[in-house]
Symmetry: C2
Subunit: 89 residues, 2 copies
DNA sequence: AGTATCCATAGATATTCATCTATATATTAA
DNA sequence: TTAATATATAGATGAATATCTATGGATACT
């Protein structure tokens, strides 16, 4: 849970997730959307992977990144729960 | 939006929000739940305030912190939207 | 087999950030 | 007005992190 929030704290990583929402992509595909180096992109993907927000699959030379849908949905629920409160004045 | 995610990235700040869900509290009240110094607590509260997640009201000597409910609910919605995706395989 | 491409990893650097101590500011109490 | 309490702020320090260059390991192409 902590790793998830930390993963989401970086705008570039949120952008990556946004892109993966639309379609699965290789690192090379993703690279076109960012100015930093491939090493940095790889680092961000690693953070997302450690947070279990994305999964990978090798397809020939390429490694395809996609959302980990179950965790993504779990997160949606737990975040929603998190923002629910029940304060009595 | 970025400041909100950054604010949520720290577990201590999420704990503060959890506590404020139950009731409004002064810094002194909150202090009992944490081991770090008052200065550190003040810093975390500042981050939450800059993210607009909490609001303050002076009550005598005390400064009472409470959730900024509208932003909190906004956040719930936008986060939920964030986690909704529509990927076609 | 050799080369090119794709991605990850190692190591360095700079920035951000969580925390501390010390102090300033505001309010209350004596 | 002086002392005590509540909170914020300034400045320092160490840890975490985002980024870079350089390189390694894997697969594909010729």
């Amino acid at each position: 849970m902590d790793t998830v929030f930390k993963a989401l704290a970086d705008p570039n990583r949120r952008r990556i997730l946004d892109l993966l929402k639309k379609k699965d992509m290789s690192v090379t595909d993703l690279q076109e959307y960012f100015d930093f180096t491939q090493a940095s992109l790889s680092h961000h993907l690693d953070v997302l992977k450690r947070a279990d927000l994305v999964v990978t699959e090798r397809r020939g030379q390429f490694i395809i990144y996609s959302l980990n849908i179950s965790v993504f949905e779990e997160m949606a629920n737990s975040v929603l729960n998190y923002f629910k409160y029940d304060k009595r004045k």
